[in-house]
Symmetry: C2
Subunit: 264 residues, 2 copies
């Protein structure tokens, strides 16, 4: 999709259903976000879960119950139509994958927009760091870990991580860049031996695609925005909606807006 240069353009294309595919690479420099929609009755527990687990679940915006407009990050947008594809969940089971929510909306739904790794990947690319899955043209590999999230009310689950192989000498630079982006998962949560965080086989990701790890490289792991989806599966609320993987909500914020600037 050419011409989708900003959040307004991407969202208009979603609304018109001329865009129903994944969003990586669209609207370069604009913050993309994971979406979770939950009924009001479940929203407090989930917001508490996000507050207690800010690295996998950094909250960019939360809507009022029934209000489909994320006023903070994209005034005028509509969460019912402005993503390319959605997933509808009932009791933790995937029941539909529609391209809009007009037949599924409820006036008690609260929208949670959660930071996404694209933001820090853009910062890494700008710093000259090669990101392997982008180089290989595949999805980032993601893994369930044995690292428990801090539970909150009825919500619980283990952290999901994404992985990018790096040379040891790159790790410090990468950590410094990512630590300045706490709303995009921040610094890596683990470097090295995958077994230490409960990953049995690095060649077999639970989500996304495997990537090559060259000799001398080590796997570097980040908290991942799929964590809330794993928590939905573990917690099984009666009703929930998320974005379809890779089909993100594109905001009006710029990646640089998320930068934690040093006040010094």
């Amino acid at each position: 999709m050419t011409g989708l240069v900003d959040g307004v353009a991407v969202r208009a294309a979603c609304r018109a259903e001329t865009l129903i595919g994944p969003t990586p690479g669209l609207a370069p420099g604009c913050v993309q976000a994971n979406l979770v929609l939950l009924p009001r009755d479940w929203a407090f527990d989930f917001m508490l879960f996000c507050h207690r687990n800010p690295q996998p679940c950094p909250l960019l915006d939360v809507t009022d119950p029934g209000d489909p407009e994320p006023k903070r990050v994209a005034p005028g947008a509509d969460l019912r139509t402005d993503l390319p594809k959605y997933r509808i969940w009932e009791h933790g089971e995937l029941v539909a994958e529609p391209t809009n929510l007009l037949a599924h909306w409820r006036d008690d739904l609260v929208g949670f927009l959660i930071g996404c790794s694209f933001t820090f990947e853009n910062a890494l690319l700008e710093a000259g760091v090669t990101v392997r899955h982008i180089e290989q043209g595949v999805n980032v590999p993601m893994y369930r870990t044995n690292v428990p999230c801090i539970s909150a009310g009825r919500f619980r689950g283990q952290m999901v991580v994404s992985m990018r192989p790096l040379n040891p000498e790159q790790t410090e630079t990468v950590t410094r860049i990512c630590a300045k982006l706490p709303l995009a998962h921040g610094a890596p949560v683990h470097v090295g031996d995958p077994a230490r965080i409960g990953i049995a086989d690095i060649a077999k990701p639970d989500y996304g695609d495997p990537v090559t790890i060259h000799a001398g490289e080590q796997p570097v792991f980040w908290a991942c925005g799929v964590t809330p989806q794993a928590a939905l599966l573990a917690t099984r609320p009666p009703f929930a909606i998320t974005h379809a993987p890779g089909h993100m909500f594109v905001t009006d914020q710029r990646d640089s807006d998320l930068l934690m600037t040093s006040p010094v």
Copy 2:
């Protein structure tokens, strides 16, 4: 009260009711917090209000419904007994000021602990900046403003600010120090003319005591943790509990734990 050197000691004295007075100056270097307790039905709206207004309402910890233990900032503590004095509110009216909550606790109450200006005042004192109300031995002057908070569900209200007079040449240093403490209200929200934020008479604070402003000094205003109490008055939920002014919850966190360290 001598010997109250840390959060554990202060909380034990509150629990034993040997401490029923204000907490400024106790447990030096420990983070003190504002408390708001609300029934679960009101907790989501209030958490949303805090998320949207992080400068007046920086969330340090939020408890599960019915759980009196703030596990993040003070494991083992009990919000029902570990503050010196509380205020009970019904429909926005103050109805009681007990020294514990044993007769008032409900198993649907959610506790919100909100950052407090003592943390940045300690940082200013350490940097050699004189804090006028401490010098004069009075409470900090606080003012209602005409600056609206971003409303959230049923919660709305105007920002309350605290004021400390400073020489213009101190303002940059003070801003730099406070900006590193976003969980303790962060940088000042306004410097200079009080009328610009709706304050009619700087000599007549709405809460606390007036302080002297010397020739050449300008008033510097910070977002204030009394803002959520003002929002409770404006919103009038059927039931709420707060700390009594100056009678804070003393956590196990150190002021330095709240420092946003530059990752560079």
